[in-house]
Symmetry: C2
Subunit: 343 residues, 2 copies
Amino acid sequence: MIKKITLKQVAEALDVSMMTVSRALNNNPNVDKRTKEKVIKKVHELGYSPNHIAKSLVQKKTRTIGVVVPEIAHSFFPEAIRGIEEVVYREGYQIMLTHSAENFEREAAAIETLVSKRVDGILISVAESDKDISVYTKVLKMGLQLVFFDRCVYNIGASCVSINDEESARIITKHLIEHKYKSIAHLSGPLTISISKARLNGYKKALQQNGIKFNTEMVVESGFHEEGGYKAMSQLLDFSPQKRPRAVVAVNDPSAFGAMRAIKERGLSIPKDVAIVGISDDIRAELMSIPLTTIKQPAYEEGKLAAKKLIAHIEKKKEKVEKIVVETQLIIRESCGCRMKSN
Amino acid sequence: MIKKITLKQVAEALDVSMMTVSRALNNNPNVDKRTKEKVIKKVHELGYSPNHIAKSLVQKKTRTIGVVVPEIAHSFFPEAIRGIEEVVYREGYQIMLTHSAENFEREAAAIETLVSKRVDGILISVAESDKDISVYTKVLKMGLQLVFFDRCVYNIGASCVSINDEESARIITKHLIEHKYKSIAHLSGPLTISISKARLNGYKKALQQNGIKFNTEMVVESGFHEEGGYKAMSQLLDFSPQKRPRAVVAVNDPSAFGAMRAIKERGLSIPKDVAIVGISDDIRAELMSIPLTTIKQPAYEEGKLAAKKLIAHIEKKKEKVEKIVVETQLIIRESCGCRMKSN
DNA sequence: TTGTAGGCGTTATCAC
DNA sequence: GTGATAACGCCTACAA
């Protein structure tokens, strides 16, 4: 850290007390207009920069929030972080960004560090690995504010911002059913976390509501990433042509991208041989050679809402814990068989 | 901030001094093994979490670095941030992420806040708006470490990690020239910042080395974003068909994407009517209906190198200030006219 | 309107 | 190996 001018030095240079300088700088009304001007002038002259560390120590408030994401660069998260930053900036907070890399231990360590750094609250989208929710309840018990976004943990007393996962999966599965596909598989997320279970349930519900029997073999766990989608799809394609699914609901777009690669590598065509849909509306979805039909998830909005809710929890002692659901939208492209490519 | 157990309370519960607890927790060798065990046990029992704010105050070190980017969600930056996070995590630092939104005032405010939060150093990619470099020199003068990445400011005594901008632009322009295009335009970045000037120079150099006369009208400032690329390209397309450029070097991929949209909207075809190339290798480049020929810029690597260099500056007092150049690679796709789409 | 005293939760330093 | 004390730079609370 830098050797710097302190309040005391400014005060001495002006021959006033530290408190006068402090008050002048914090817009305290009880300070003579001329002294205030003098102080501000001297502060610039000396290049004084207030030490927020000291301020935080006495005020027990850092105006910093911690953000924990399982992934930084792909699909949903950059947009969500942009939304968070937007709100946080306007409210005069800062973001401490950490990354769990989908790993539970790393996530727990990140949370612990954020607590030690005394952030005012934490925004988290949980990692996909096996987990013990006591990490989160412990944070809450310490009185730290916690808001989940996208991948939530429910019923532990924290607010959450996400889409309606079950309904989104149900709608897009139903869309596939309307194409008369009967044999529809699901590439699921890690079933330890609730978002995956909800999407699986939505898929099941759509089948059931349309009189299609649910078949366990048609659900393969792919996780949330491209590689997993590729592997899971390959597994399904190893079935005999009669047993092979005619359509696939991927848990999200990256998983769908991996699956699309697997399908193409077998020389099969999308959607003629296998139709596929995702959930996310990743930036790449519309650019694929067969544009992906998907559910648009408003990442930027989710980030903003989550940040707003967290700050409300921090600033108003009695802010209501709630589940905030953002609207999604079915985006119909070609991978479901709705329209074929024009050229 | 949370009401929490302090060192003092742990000490009292154990009937030892605060220093003993502090030493035990910081792996100071001068602590009896059994007292250390006792301390650790009690710390867990009480749920004590060390207050890094207090620690930072006395040690004048926060183990936090500030990151300032002009953009959070698109193209280069998410990957760069991922690289930064990777290094910072391994070295036991945290990231405070801020966003200038390409706006100079906002950037200056972000830096000021980071200084007040007493980060140990700052990693910055500068905003595109008009600027006064005194913001950066002031930071340096305070003794704070500063490392630029991607968009640098040179000769002010700060290290910098970037590609060789001039050479990259020269190479990709030369590639276009090898296609026998004579009338080649440049969509430039904001000419106030050095990366744009360097790329413009590379473009000029390629023309000159190949006996093509440089024509001022063929350079239009597009900025770094899609919208600017669209507008700048539209301007060039307003020229009469004879004067209109036959090929275009965009300052980066987003600008190229905007330009491609403009070209298509006029009913022109890429690369038949207008060939185009970019610099970045954005995730979308290969997915475009006409895949974009571009220069691959290793964002993740740049982030890692910049973070490593910053931490070296922070920890070794005499780390050399240097310009670190990362290798780029020409990625040939279809937009330059090299090969036509297979189907 | 201004100043003084005390403390926020740690660690550095020196003593035992 | 352990403890007492004085910072670190600021703000709260109270006094003048």
